[in-house]
């Protein structure tokens, strides 16, 4: 097992306007499960492929297990990769798929047999060993791809969106299997996905990427509770965080936010961090909001009209269109919540649940 260190990695493609990967640095600890998360085109797969050696590194250093591997060929980096399409050799049986790489490395037959047997038992492939890939289901193929990685006994496992081709139910089951596998093997794993649910449930730490750059790294819940910018805030969480534009004003020595619908939200927590700023972006998670009747008085009450009600069974999502073209907010309410289409309501936002972001850069403004 080994530590993977990315130091200022860049990837430039000829003729592209901006680098596909820009100054990406992080360290995956020995035995850690790190998830690279981001929308398509954010550079996460490119970063993974640079770690694998399938893409060349334009600038920066890559260190695996203490040695710099920029110029080392992929096959010599002691890594194993599970591809999105599984990439099984279609003309070989499962057993041959598993043992092919080991044979090419001239490992002796006894060792090969032992490793194949062990991987097959961990993944439940025992009966499938003589089948060819076309006779396997999607989930089975995925396990063979995993098996192929396991028998290599590599220092680092790399996963490139391995669950995207599975149907929803299988995805959940396989997710848990992978977590258990990680627990069992204690291996260093780098996992790429665009699905934030996978990231949140599987990663010990997640690295959110956007536009080729790292937006934030941290433990899943930490990133969820303290997003570094608007992008990360909206990427995690479903439904996404509500973002509203607001003007700042001072009243009685305290900062207040004024939203387009006329609501006033006190910003006591931020004290003097907001000096000199005129506008700000407010963030609030749907689960922190509550719907009140329009007659309720007091601060921190957004006003608007119910635009949609989505009873999901376990909970109800209510979509409120705010007055004055201020925007829309979605609230996640208890399943028996009472809201009707077209109804006038107030939305209460507790100050503790507010996030502030710079209006221009989108970066989070932290409360002291």
């Amino acid at each position: 097992m080994a530590e993977v260190q990315l130091q200022g990695l860049f990837k430039n493609y000829k003729g592209a306007a901006r680098p596909a990967v820009q100054d990406v640095s992080f360290t995956v600890q020995d035995g850690e499960f790190m998830v690279l998360l981001g929308p398509s085109g954010c550079g996460k797969s490119t970063t993974l492929r640079m770690i694998a050696g399938l893409e060349s590194i334009s600038d920066g250093q890559l260190v695996i297990g203490g040695r710099v591997v920029n110029e080392v060929a992929a096959k010599d980096r002691d890594i194993a990769m599970v591809f999105q399409s599984y990439a099984l050799y279609p003309h070989m049986t499962v057993a041959d798929n598993l043992s092919f790489g080991l044979r090419r490395r001239k490992i002796d037959e006894a060792q090969i047999a032992a490793r194949v047997k062990s991987a097959a038992s961990i993944l439940g492939l025992g009966e499938l060993l003589e089948r060819k890939p076309f006779a396997l289901s999607g989930g089975q193929r995925q396990r063979v791809a995993l098996g192929r990685a396991i028998v290599r006994e590599p220092q680092v496992f790399l996963f490139d969106e391995p669950l995207s081709n599975l149907d929803a139910a299988l995805r959940v089951a396989t997710r848990n299997e992978l977590v258990r596998l990680h627990h069992r093997l204690g291996a260093t794993m780098v996992y790429v996905t665009h699905d934030q649910v996978e990231a949140m449930t599987m990663g010990q730490r997640i690295c959110v990427m956007n536009g080729g750059q790292v937006a934030q790294i941290g433990r899943p819940l930490d990133v969820y509770k303290a997003p570094a910018d608007v992008f990360v805030a909206q990427f995690l969480g479903n439904p996404p965080m509500n973002i509203l534009a607001a003007q700042l004003q001072a009243a009685g020595g305290e900062a207040q936010a004024l939203t387009g619908d006329g609501a006033v939200l006190p910003l006591r927590r931020w004290r003097d961090r907001l000096a000199g700023m005129r506008a700000v972006k407010l963030g609030m998670r749907p689960e922190e909001l509550s719907i009140e009747s329009p007659d309720t008085a007091g601060p921190a009450l957004l006003r608007g009209v119910v635009a949609a009600v989505e009873p999901l069974g376990a909970e109800t999502l209510v979509n409120v269109m705010l007055d004055g073209n201020a925007g829309e907010v979605i609230a996640r309410l208890h399943r028996d919540a009472d809201a009707a289409l077209g109804q006038r309501v107030s939305v209460y936002v507790p100050e503790a649940a507010l996030y502030l972001f710079d209006a221009a850069t989108g970066k989070a403004i932290e409360a002291p």
Binding site: G66, R67, E71, V72, A73
Partner: protein, 296 residues
Amino acid sequence: MNALPSAINPASVGLTTRRATELLTGWLRQGGLMAVVVLYTLFAALPFGWIATMSVRTTSEISARHFAWPEQWHWEKFRIAWVDSNFAQYFWNSALVVVSAVAIVTLLGAAAAHCLARYNFRGNRLVYFILFSSIVFPPQIILISLFQVLVEYDLYNSRLGLTLVYVSLQLPMTVYLLESFFARIPQDLFDAAKIDGYSDFEIFWRIVLPVGMPAIATTIILNFIQLWNEFLFAVVLLSDQDKRTLPIGIRAYMGDYFQDIGMIATGMMIAVIPVVILYAFFSEKLIQGMTAGAVK
């Protein structure tokens, strides 16, 4: 482990020599590849180049030195071949027969292909199979009886007869190529047209033909080239000298003027020019059309 500077660190020295050998084998491989490429290009192109140069040299020049670059470019040989040696007539015959045959087979083939691709009726697959399977028939199975048939109907030694035979020769392949393309046209297009009140024939004329134009163009080009070069049936079914098509003409030329290499070369160039022109404009379509269905 980090005590030694990297220049004499054994691990990284090993790395550098390995990288050097990788580079070297890489260059050797590139060199080997280039050698293969150059050799084969010569192999493929030289014969053609040779003929081309011979076509502008006189036979006496050629007999003297068979492989020289033309000193004098005898372009008038083309004129001579065209006019004096009847190549104009042969060219005209080929053009007449081939263009007519291609036009007819395209129309007939498209109509049949559309019907097979679009309409469900009992026997649809049977008809398709019957038409399609004849692609593998060796030509001899119909050669002799076609000869008889044409003679009996007074179409022997006529360009009309040959045209009809050419249509029948290319029909299976045309139907095959067009049917697979037409089948991919979305059904919605036809449903909408039906609702708009178009009749079946109008649909064929106004929708299938325009939409299917890429595939139709491909079959036109393919049929043209195959029929332009066709030899066996032309040799059997035509006997008059002035009805000969170009391939027969060239061969007869070779028979009559066996030693007149220069003129034969010129004749060959004349035969090849239409194909080369088509190829220059439509190489991609041609290649795709001819190799369709071969990749599995």
